[in-house]
């Protein structure tokens, strides 16, 4: 059974399942490094998934759909930015409001546009970037199959997620821009004193998080499923939050933590196929990613240190 479970497809599926979580987690770490708490990824992802799907269905182009997804998420992210950066609102409540608003808005528009609740029509999903031939016999062909499946079988947004995680980790810790962004979350008053525009910087960070969550939604609908279902994000935004903390507010760390969840999810999906050998009810497989989140938090949170000024509204007047 081991050989049937541990296949190259298992790892590829782990990466694919991790991608929406990872994109949101990478975006959130930028947002929280700048000192703004963002628990709205669940809603932003849902909005992205929906607006991406609608745009794709209307234009017939999945690529325009990606733009639509990002636009939708950015609009809702600016609500969060306005409330938490300009108006000093409670950022957790604002995030919750956006999550509920996203669920309501997508549900309402779903019924208004498509005339029924549930699932939309489907579109042709965006295909993998590369298409190399595989097959044949012998050890070389097997190694090539592993390489091709685990590294070269993905759709564009999946690669973008990997790139973003690496690039942003470098930028956050090795560039002047990164130092400035982090200063917003550690000591905004000092940042202001040396002439950094705190409000502008935080706006940018919240929008960056919205951009990434929108892409996460686009990945779900336009690359993976091909249609939109109400509430389809199913807690991924919250898992991304846990991944971000597990990754210690570092984009790359958040990406790796998401891979762990993706792997747990891929494994449970795979194991469900063997339900006549492993006699465990499906519900226990389904709860695995959530359980893992709790275990990870129980093990790591005590040692993870959040940005100092996180969640505190900043006013130039002092």
């Amino acid at each position: 059974m081991f050989a049937e479970v541990v296949t190259p497809e298992l790892f590829a599926s782990a990466v694919r399942l991790a991608t929406p979580i990872a994109l949101a987690a990478v975006g959130a770490s930028i947002c929280e490094r700048a000192g703004v708490v963002n628990i709205a990824m669940e809603g932003l992802m849902l909005i992205g998934a929906f607006s991406g799907m609608v745009t794709a269905l209307m234009t017939g182009s999945a690529w325009l759909g990606v733009i639509g997804a990002v636009t939708g998420a950015l609009i809702f992210a600016s609500l969060h930015a306005w409330a938490s950066v300009n108006l000093g609102a409670d950022q957790v409540i604002s995030g919750t409001a956006i999550n509920i608003l996203a669920l309501g808005t997508t549900g309402f528009l779903m019924e208004t546009i498509f005339g029924h609740p549930g699932t939309t029509d489907s579109v042709q999903t965006i295909g993998p970037v590369f298409d190399f031939p595989t097959g044949g016999e012998g050890p070389f062909a097997t190694v090539w199959l592993w390489i091709d499946t685990v590294f070269l079988s993905y759709t564009p947004i999946v690669y973008f997620g990997m790139f973003a995680a690496i690039f942003l980790t470098w930028a956050l810790y090795r560039t002047r821009w990164g130092l400035r962004l982090r200063s917003l979350g550690e000591h905004p008053r000092a940042a202001d004193t040396v002439g950094i525009n705190v409000l502008k910087g935080r706006w940018f960070a919240v929008l960056a998080s919205g951009f990434m969550s929108g892409l996460a939604g686009a990945n779900l609908t336009l690359e993976q499923v091909g249609s939109f279902t109400e509430g389809m994000t199913n807690g991924r935004g919250f898992i991304a939050l846990a991944a971000m903390i597990f990754g210690r507010w570092i984009p790359g760390g958040g990406y790796l933590a998401s891979l762990l969840f993706g792997f747990a999810d891929a494994l449970q999906l795979k194991l469900q196929l063997f339900s006549d050998i492993i006699r465990i009810p499906a519900q226990f497989f389904l709860m695995l990613p959530y359980l893992l989140t709790v275990i990870v938090l129980a093990g790591v949170v005590g040692r993870a240190v959040a940005p100092t000024a996180i969640g505190k509204p900043y006013s130039e007047k002092g």
Binding site: A83, G104, Y290
Partner: protein, 381 residues
């Protein structure tokens, strides 16, 4: 008696004016704080109307239908109260958490655990008189809800794991556990995954069955329980040590700790009480409405509870009013969909807007100031 000196110097007059200005500002701030929930609801309904109008439907017709569906007669009012009932409990649950500085976003999971506990104990106690079974069923549900909040509470107290993530994750886990119990070990005979029906002695009777002068409607005794509980929670928060400690920790944990209150102990207690209240919400739904447990027995009462608590500004008595408002939205939504052709989901948009506005109180005061300054500008002209 010293002579009253009337200081007439320009400095003093300036000071006096400044003081009066500050008082005036404070008065406006207080007014805004009190008015925020009302203004928020008004803005949210206005925004809902715009959304309805944009979708090509008539907002006046829609809200008219909604109103008649919620308050148009005894049956409709009963329906509003029926839907308000679980929201009083979940609203109290979330509000109690907030008062203690905890955001219990996982009330939905605790509600499911409470529901299944009620369904199980209710069936087990068949044959006992209601005086024994009803209290025991409620107790079981409260304990189940509290138990489901206990681990997140412990994680918060011990290692500082944020309760927004842990209670949310436990909510998902709880729903899967309950779904398994319903479909597996505690499934009723037949194909449908649901638990066996509660014996009549474990049910909460309808108001119209108890008070026969009321015309028949679906509202049940749970609403009375909810109102009584709201008063109890108010009393606990205001007059007991338990409530004092909860509020002190919610207000300023560092100061509370310095003052000799154990923050971690209070956190555990408060989140468990919050969980117990959410568990009771599940119990009243099972005992008063469905008389059994199944997967879709809650239409997001745990999440709507957040909106209820925020709108009530975490005041237990305010929770009753906020719950009835949301209950009426939910009861009227069906009529609205039927008569005006507007999707029921618009009420989630309204709820989300209300939370956003109440949470960002500054938006309301910003709007008020904008309107004032606009008025001043036109006055000058």
């Amino acid at each position: 008696m010293p002579e009253q000196v009337i200081d007439d110097s320009p400095e003093h007059r300036a000071q006096e004016a400044e003081r009066r200005f500050a008082l005036e500002q404070e008065r406006i701030r207080r007014l805004i704080r009190v008015a925020t929930p009302f203004i928020s609801v008004a803005i949210a309904i206005l925004l809902g109307s715009v959304v309805i109008a944009l979708s090509g439907k008539d907002p006046l017709l829609a809200f008219g239908a909604m109103f008649s569906g919620a308050f148009g007669g005894t049956r409709q009012i009963g329906e509003t109260l029926l839907r308000a009932t679980p929201l009083i409990f979940t609203g109290l649950a979330v509000a109690y958490g907030f008062r203690s500085g905890l955001f219990n976003i996982g009330a939905e999971g605790q509600l499911f655990l409470g529901g299944i506990a009620a369904a199980f104990v209710g069936v087990m106690l068949a044959g006992y008189p209601w005086m024994i079974s009803v209290p025991l069923v409620l107790l079981a549900a409260a304990l189940a809800g509290a138990a489901w909040a206990f681990i997140p509470a412990l994680m918060k107290a011990r290692i500082g794991a944020h309760e927004v993530i842990t209670t949310m994750m436990f909510s998902y886990i709880g729903r899967y556990v309950v779904s398994w119990i319903i479909a597996g070990p505690f499934k009723d005979k037949g194909q449908i995954p649901q638990t066996p029906e509660l014996p009549e002695t474990s049910q909460l009777p309808r108001l119209s069955d108890v008070f026969t002068f009321i015309e028949p409607n679906r509202a049940h005794l749970g609403i009375v329980l909810g109102i009584v509980l709201a008063v109890v929670v108010w009393w606990v928060l205001k007059y007991t040590v338990l409530g004092y400690e909860a509020r002190a920790v919610g207000f300023n944990p560092t100061a509370a700790q310095t003052g000799g209150i154990s923050v971690s102990m209070t956190t555990v207690k408060s989140l468990c009480i919050s969980g117990a209240l959410a568990g009771l919400a599940g119990a009243v739904e099972v005992m008063g409405v469905h008389h059994r447990m199944f997967d879709q027995f809650s239409s997001g009462f745990g999440f709507t509870g957040i909106a209820v608590a925020l709108l009530a500004k975490n005041n237990p008595i305010g929770v009753i009013a906020a719950a009835i408002l949301f209950g009426s939205l939910s009861a009227g939504a069906g009529t609205m969909q039927l008569e005006a052709g507007v999707s029921q989901k618009v009420i989630s948009v309204i709820q989300g807007t209300i939370i956003f506005l109440v949470g960002a109180e500054a938006i309301v005061s910003w709007a008020v100031k904008r309107i004032r300054s606009m008025k001043e500008a036109t006055d000058v002209r």
